[in-house]
Symmetry: C2
Subunit: 520 residues, 2 copies
């Protein structure tokens, strides 16, 4: 063994103190070796022999147990012990062997390397022990020179390191699978952005001491011309919804622009800039800072995970594109029909938004309010079946003409009902029922109260509110007081009283929608 490393008693004391410090700093700076022996002399000699040893530039840290029972407790407290130097005969003749079984089978610790050192080979014949117990080395104390002890521990540490390395890789891969499943579940861009940030943070934490690694970051998406922040963590948390242009420092902006120019993600010093461009041209940025340097593991994992992020981003972009297209086609359909009555396409957009708002206030789920938002703009498609002469008659309708006009509910239902799609079936029902009245005085069936579907009751309120609140060819918009007066008068008559209350109590929000989609 190396003389220069050979410590004297003073060195040993000093070394023990140094170890205490290292442990206080997180304990990851040394290889943990557990000596299990009922003979204190064996502990002392072992520490003397191994004291100056270093493996992979890290020193050793020793734990001492004088019985198998004590060793069990120590292993529970220190799950990262790398090597156990284990005696056989202690509190019982086979205490050491039982401990081996306990470690492998009860604690399910298959990583720690166990070196069995026996003083009485008679109690533990080599072949039987090697075959029956999952140990990694068998040595007789009588043949164990300092040289042999050194190389035995060195080889054991190397094996432990290799196993831990493969295992760390396994954990990284498992984290990637879990993280990817998580982001592939996301349906909206905002949830997705926040998921990517969270998962990337846990991936980069895997190989680091969490206490010393406070990461901050954000995810941003391009909206028309500017990137704005969709989700953020740590220091960046207050910046959600703000445009990158004004929210982040010039240094960070420079990083982001570098990634965009390069058209790819970059791992820089203590930060990561993810750049994702979907097949249909959408762009997303992820920025993460606050970890020290990049290991090969990090690069490998982040690359694997981010290739999944790219796929998920493509899927969500495509989905959002299809959903937006669907929404616009619905508005086009609604608008096309309204165009015959010389109404603007904004009438159906406003009815759609009022309906969604009422649904939300009423307590419908997000899924239902979205459904209502898409189905309500089609409530009047049946008007297509009404003749110009009736539909656009400037004066009052005759009784016959009114009967004809009322048929637009049945006609709309007929046009929409042949589909199995939820949106169209819902729209068919709204088309049929949106002129029913709460008191049973409506058409076509004279349904009453809760017999009229809540979607239809909601659309009825939204439709009338918007009609009165805007100019028509044959009359000006009503003053808002008159509209409220009418709704209060028709509360429980034409309209569901609870919906009228919701509208009156939240009038501001309704007027905001009115301002957002003006007829001009």
């Amino acid at each position: 063994m190396r003389d220069s490393n050979h410590p004297n008693d003073d060195d040993l004391l000093f070394f023990a103190e140094e170890q205490e410090d290292a442990q206080g700093q997180g304990g990851s700076g040394a290889w943990q070796v557990l000596i299990v022996d009922d003979d204190p002399e064996v502990h002392k000699v072992t520490r003397v022999v191994l004291a100056g040893m270093r493996f992979d530039e890290k020193p050793l840290e020793f734990f001492n147990a004088y019985s198998a029972a004590e060793a069990r407790q120590m292993l529970r407290d220190h799950p990262d012990v790398a090597v156990i130097l284990l005696d056989v005969v202690m509190e019982s003749d086979d205490a050491g062997l039982n401990l081996v079984r306990h470690i492998r089978e009860e604690m399910r610790n298959s990583h720690v390397r166990i070196v069995l050192r026996t003083g009485q080979p008679g109690y533990a014949p080599e072949e039987r022990v090697i075959v029956d117990y999952d140990i990694n080395c068998y040595v007789s104390k009588t043949e164990l020179t300092a040289q042999k002890l050194f190389s035995t521990v060195y080889v054991a540490l190397r094996a432990y390191r290799d196993i831990r390395t493969i295992d760390l890789n396994r954990r990284g891969l498992e984290q990637i699978i879990q993280s990817s499943a998580n982001i592939f579940r996301m349906q909206s861009m905002r949830m997705f952005a926040s998921g990517v940030l969270t998962q990337l943070t846990s991936l980069l934490r895997l190989n680091r001491n969490a206490i010393y690694c406070q990461m901050s970051g954000f995810a941003a998406t391009k909206n028309e011309r500017d990137f704005y922040i969709l989700a953020a963590t740590g220091d960046y948390s207050p910046l959600v919804n703000r445009p990158i242009r004004s929210a982040v420092s010039p240094t960070v902006r420079e990083d982001l622009e570098r990634a965009m120019r390069a058209g790819q993600s970059l791992s820089l010093g203590n930060r990561y800039v993810g750049y994702f461009r979907s097949q249909n041209g959408s762009e997303n940025l992820v920025y993460l800072e606050g970890f020290n340097g990049w290991s090969d593991w990090d690069r490998n994992w982040v690359e694997l995970f981010c290739s999944n992020v790219g796929i998920a981003f493509d899927n969500i972009s495509l989905n959002e594109e299809i959903e937006s297209t669907q929404r616009e086609i619905i508005f086009t359909l609604g608008g096309v029909v309204e165009a015959r009555s010389k109404e603007t396409g904004f009438h159906v957009k406003r009815v759609s938004e009022y309906s969604r708002l009422l649904g939300k206030l009423y307590g419908l789920s997000r899924e239902e309010t979205e459904l209502l938002r898409l189905a309500s703009p089609m409530h009047d498609v049946g008007k297509i079946a009404i003749e110009d002469a009736v539909l656009n008659k400037p004066g009052r309708l005759t009784a016959d003409e009114y009967e004809q006009m009322k048929k637009h509910t049945l006609a709309g239902h007929e046009m929409l009902q042949h589909s199995n799609r939820r949106i169209l079936r819902t729209a068919a029902q709204i088309a049929l029922e949106h002129h029913e009245k709460y008191n049973g005085g409506g058409y076509p069936f004279g349904l009453r109260g809760e017999k009229i579907h809540i979607y239809s009751r909601i659309t009825a309120v939204a439709d009338v509110f918007d009609a009165l609140n805007n100019n028509r060819i044959y009359r000006a918009a009503w003053p808002i007081e008159d509209i409220l007066a009418l709704f209060k008068q028709e509360r429980g008559q034409h309209f569901d009283p609870y919906l009228v209350d919701l509208m009156v109590d939240n009038l501001d929000e309704f007027l905001k929608i009115h301002q957002a989609f003006p007829d001009d």
Copy 2:
């Protein structure tokens, strides 16, 4: 060592023959041990000592190399060698040590366990060798008893098995990541079904000898009431597109029904039945057979992978639902407009299908034909702006009325052009140009030839073909010969000549579409 296992010379010969057979059967039934030594006596003694040894119920298989050079070649030929018993001094004083470096650094084989057996420790001092070379055990030949050799090899095999196990797990996880990325990329249910089948097969092959594992299987999806086969491999390949009810044996059907009743996937004997139900209620089945039994690995991997399959299936089902809804809303929009002219909704469906077919025959990409299929049914939305009196006039239009009628192209363009969505922008262009003629004699602009977008030229052919081929209120359908005559006459006049040729040459396919969507 065990006397009962101790072979004599006859046993050794017999044992060698047995090994030859085992290797001939795939070679995976034994632990491969490579003896590297320039002294034939060492080979002989080693084999005698280890001959009867078994580890994990498998025997040992020996390879012999008499120099480092020979050993390199053998390791290239046998990458699964578990343990190397390695001499130091052979063709040179450090031939053995150089081989260690070559194995770890050049061949990047970190799994094989290397036991260094030196006869002249002077050439390879223990501490230096242990620190500088990645070996797993250092023994001096002088101290190596039969007992010691046995336990050294036993411990080395155990370490090799453990490393291989963790590594197999790593490979499984990597395969899952790759397989999952693959299926998440799939946009259509058919590609997805086929992807799941392929990826599941490679996952289940990972832990098996590919030669003895011929898997067959299929993936099926529920369409209205019946499950039908979307993708298949092996024996099931000919069954694609057939309903499960009639295509597979009662035994297989019983397996599938068991999984459906249980509402979950099942791993049975030598087969796997995957059952997936998406959030919106779609159902998918995967059936795979032809592998022997299930290991814990298989179960673990398949479970991990299939949880991703479930997520991807949810996403694709949702996507298909949105796309189908979009398609139906478009047909509703087109149909609503046609309804005013008392046309059935099937006119726009047929125009849509004819346009897709013509696009495909013309050589447009799948993406473009899909776009055309969705945009072409909206070509006449501008008719909504035309008065009943003109639109539905039974007799011939006056010049003024005709001018008014012609405006439906501009009106349709105006209704559709305000969107950024590709489908709506395309529809706007088709609405504008579908009455242009190839010879420049059309309206509204009198565009000529290739100046008219190919989508508009295609829609023009499809629209006129369908109009003539069906009854209208004011006339009966034309005989097919008369329609063909008109198209031949208008070839290069009204219509793009190449498109007319495509239609004439593929008339059967056009008539099939006509039959699929009859007006009644």
